[in-house]
């Protein structure tokens, strides 16, 4: 989601109808814009599939369709080709794609310059992958002398005044000293720098980093040259098409640019940009109705598509669609089905209540967990639900040791940098944070933990286990009580456990036990119980005896 802003005035100037706030908000939602703020200034959130909606012109274009004012695919009239751009051999291994166009007769003011810059920023941020895939330069073309050249230069290979600066800089100085240089130098290798110059060697831009100061837009700018460079032709051309449609909707005329490649191979051949040819796709009436659960006729479907600014012509039970070149989100006819639903309006559908019978059920795991929980609550324990994320330090401080921590590569906070492998540290943390609360404190948690397990069927070399842990903090808390409770809980679940001496350091010597699950004359260790050592209690700031147990209940999703 990207947030965009524009003034209500700019939108109204482009809309076919006057709308009040409520009507406008409703229509914006139908056009897939999430409304964040409505008033003199409008703020919208735009989803990643719709870069065409990142500008006020694109939003207005969509709304005019829904208002039935403009139908079908918008026609972009191109003027005659204006100039040429020669791509030089040297740039091909670095950043080979370039497209562009000339825009004439723009009436800029302070606000529309700001809006144009914002559209460019947002387009390159999302659609352009932070300028790596697509970078855009807008230039006042009055001082330029085409044809242009697109080449690669070295770190000291050119000197020009970058935007917002007053003195000349080399590419390496820009990368180190200019804020945009520092921000975007990661895209380049530090040795090769793309450069667009005109026939008099005046620098237009050093894409994808910075434009030259020479061609900066101002309120007196009437003609603009757009350069778009990148790694992917389709993405670059879509961005160009979006910008050309926007300028054209604001009353400017668009003149194509001829991009000439040194060798005319299949991938990189000479083109005249923008390419605004519509994408063609066929949609069957049957498919629409099957997916939507409707019985729409050809006419209704065609109308819905037209409202979405898609050209649609019926031929029998098939609709031939033409999708404007500024849309990026069509891969499959299902994408047209959504357009039909959008054109019809989601809230105009009559929701269909589920018709077929299916048997609902809780999982066996849930049934089991609910039993354990009921038993523990019956034994007077307060249930906790704590975070799965913790840190190695926190776990160790609370007596957990001798395990392989599963740590995050990219934690957002040191306190939450590991996945827990035991519940007990969290329970002890809770006790140490509640020394002011009324005693006795009897707490438990049933929760998921993660344990390393090579070649596990999940493919992650780990397994997710369900554990039960409990702690009693009170004057006379002891091993005898915790083990008895555990024994009774397990007996109620139809399982038998026995206890065997354990000498873990966190417990008082001789007051801890391994918990063994007995089954078919076999026994398996499933956990521990014991009285915490005074050293540990002191370490975590507790002045009350604490006895605990933790056992594994089952593996999550054991049977696949």
């Amino acid at each position: 989601m990207v947030s965009i802003k524009f003034s209500r005035k700019s939108l109204s100037a482009l809309l076919a109808e006057e709308l009040d706030d409520e009507q406008l908000a409703e229509l914006l939602i139908q056009a897939k814009c999430s409304v964040e703020k409505m008033g003199e200034e409008i703020q919208l959130e735009i989803t990643g599939d719709r870069p065409d909606l990142l500008a006020v012109q694109g939003v207005a274009r969509a709304l005019n369709g829904l208002l039935n004012a403009d139908k079908g695919m918008p026609e972009l009239k191109l003027g005659k080709q204006e100039g040429e751009l020669f791509v030089e051999e040297s740039i091909l291994p670095i950043r080979p794609i370039v497209v562009g166009a000339f825009v004439k007769g723009i009436a800029f003011n302070d606000e529309s310059i700001k809006e144009a810059m914002e559209v460019q920023e947002k387009l390159t941020l999302t659609h352009g992958r932070k300028r790596k895939k697509v970078a855009i330069g807008l230039h006042d073309s009055s001082k330029l002398k085409p044809p242009f050249h697109y080449r690669c230069v070295g770190p000291e290979g050119v000197k020009f005044i970058p935007l917002n600066y007053t003195s000349e800089m080399t590419p390496s100085q820009i990368m180190e000293g200019h804020e945009k240089g520092k921000e975007y130098k990661w895209i380049l290798d530090g040795k090769h720098f793309p450069l667009i110059v005109d026939s008099a060697d005046q620098v237009l831009s050093l894409p994808p980093v910075i434009n030259g100061a020479l061609t900066a837009l101002s309120e007196s700018t009437t003609n603009v040259f757009i350069d778009i460079t990148g790694m992917d032709f389709r993405a670059c051309n879509t961005a160009l098409s979006i910008l050309c449609h926007n300028f054209s909707d604001s009353g400017a005329s668009i003149h194509p640019l001829k991009v000439v490649y040194p060798k005319n191979d299949l991938k990189l051949r000479t083109v005249i940009t923008p390419i605004i040819e519509a994408e063609k796709m066929r949609l069957s009436v049957k498919e629409v109705n099957r997916q939507l659960g409707t019985d729409f006729g050809v006419k209704k479907i065609t109308e819905c598509l037209q409202r979405q600014r898609i050209s649609a012509k019926a031929s029998g039970n098939v609709i031939n669609c033409e999708i404007p070149s500024y849309r990026t989100d069509f891969m499959h006819p299902i994408d047209l089905v959504e357009e039909v639903a959008l054109g019809y309006g989601y809230n105009n559908f009559i929701p269909q209540a589920p018709r077929v019978f299916t048997k609902g059920s809780k999982s066996e795991q849930t049934v089991f967990v609910e039993r354990v929980r009921d038993l523990m609550v019956g034994a007077g324990f307060l249930e906790l639900s704590t975070y799965v994320l913790t840190s190695r330090k926190r776990m160790e401080k609370h007596g957990h040791s001798g395990w392989e921590a599963i740590e995050l590569e990219n934690p957002v906070s040191a306190e939450y940098s590991s996945v827990r492998s035991s519940l007990m540290p969290s329970l002890l943390e809770v006790l140490s944070e509640n020394t002011h609360a009324e005693y006795p404190q009897r707490i438990f948690e049933i929760g998921e933990v993660v344990i390393k397990q090579p070649s596990h069927h999940s493919g992650t070399h780990t397994k997710t286990m369900l554990h039960l842990s409990a702690a009693i903090a009170e004057k006379e808390s002891n091993l005898s009580e915790t083990s008895s409770i555990l024994f009774e809980v397990m007996r109620a679940l139809g399982k038998r456990v026995s206890f065997k001496e354990s000498y873990l350091r966190k417990y008082i010597q001789g007051r801890a036990a391994n918990v063994l699950l007995l089954r078919d004359l076999q026994s398996k260790s499933i956990g521990v119980c014991g009285e915490l050592s005074p050293e540990l209690l002191e370490e975590i700031g507790l002045q009350m005896p604490v006895s605990v147990f933790e056992i594994e209940l089952m593996e999550v999703n054991e049977i696949e």
């Binding site: 990643g48 997916q291 989601y346 639900s385 599963i406 934690p411």
Partner: protein, 498 residues
Amino acid sequence: MVNYNERLVLEALSKGLKRSADEIALALNVPKPTVMSIAESLKQEGFLELFDEKTVSFISLTGEGLEYYEKGLPEARLMQLMKASGNSLPVEEIPRKALLSQKEQGIALSWIVKSGAARISKDSQRKSILHLTTHSPFPSERALKFIGRARITKSALTGEEALGADLLLQRGLAEEQEQKKVMLKISIKGLESLKHSKEAGELSSLTPEMLRAGSWKGKKFKEYDLKTILFPVQLGRKHPYNSFVSTVREKLVGMGFREVHGHLLELEFWDMDALYMPQNHPAREIHDIFKIKDPRLGELPEEIFQKVREAHRHGGKTGSRGWDYEMSREVSASVILRSHDTVISVRELAKTLHPPDRVFNISRVFRPDEIDWKHFIEFNQFGGFVADENTSFRELLGTLKTFAEEVFQARKVKFAPSYFPFTEPSVELHAEIPGKGWAEVGGAGMFRPELLSAVGVDFPVIAWGLGVDRLVLDKLGYKDIRQLFTHDIELLRKSKMV
């Protein structure tokens, strides 16, 4: 005449020594306020004397203080950054480099200078440069770490930490509470009354021995004072959130959904690729994911991996254009923390299913996100799908409407267009919740053909996810999303069931 409770207190003082109210409370196993109210009434009747003795001062962190306890003080985070940047940094670069909010930047700069840990000078271009002069931790940071979530007596703090604690108090990051130590001493009248009540032979309670011997006959029992009869009782209780989850689960089961579970750790392949979210594309970034350091890479399910790769490349056998790129094995095999519950649905779909089928899961998911009152990096999702030859977008809307009515008690619903890379059409569910108003409560859509085909499904599937955490928060009267996972025992004891 003293009642039963009052007599217990007098008996505890019967040796004639001064004892503190805390001691008595501990000895009788009753809360201190109860002891105090009994003592007050005994004092009025002259049975005992009360003395105020020395006060004890406690210190604990405020809400803001706790936030810094988790994130680190702004100046400490700035110091970290400065260390990493070779001890000096132009002031104008701080906003861009440091992960500090605007407010925090001001705080950080002001305190790092005020504490003498750094100084500001101008360089040749008249730019302000910040120089770090020491690497030793701030006293306030040390005090912050020491106090943490606990309530500490002030005398436990010494040296640097005490110094730091004073600074925390000044800055409103910690607060101080004083507690008087109240001492009780029995009076002569009290001692006499005790003696007298023993002689009067009033019984304090009925015992099995009395019943066996019949010695209760003709005796009188001490009467209770109903004003002081209540003791705090610790009930065994289900966690309020889990209790709400059970209610929702019952409703989903009632609607014909069966429950499934998944793994906390997943392959990025299942979490993202299998959901037709292209690598290195904005559609992947509808949210971020946590990666695991070790095990870093897992084992890919080869057969499905190839099919999914084909779907990303050119749409597989669906007639789709596909994303037109080559999936990286290494990205797919990365081990991550489950970032959304949809991964459980797609894993379920990859098994052999027999439509019609309705499936749901309730799962903990993880996303690197800003931590504040309405966001945490861990939260719960309710999600699932309906697989049925005849299901449709209209049925999806009908299913969502039923959820809104059943789970959220909504009176009205609205549907808004939305975008998820794995569904088309996609929709957002908005519901008018009683006492709350309109809220977005879920996202849904029909799984894309590229996704279904790659996991071998040839019937339509509608998928949905509900966000209930904010609703539970309102119902429980909590103010912060993190309270759903609270460590506060008293809060859990006092929470109502919802």
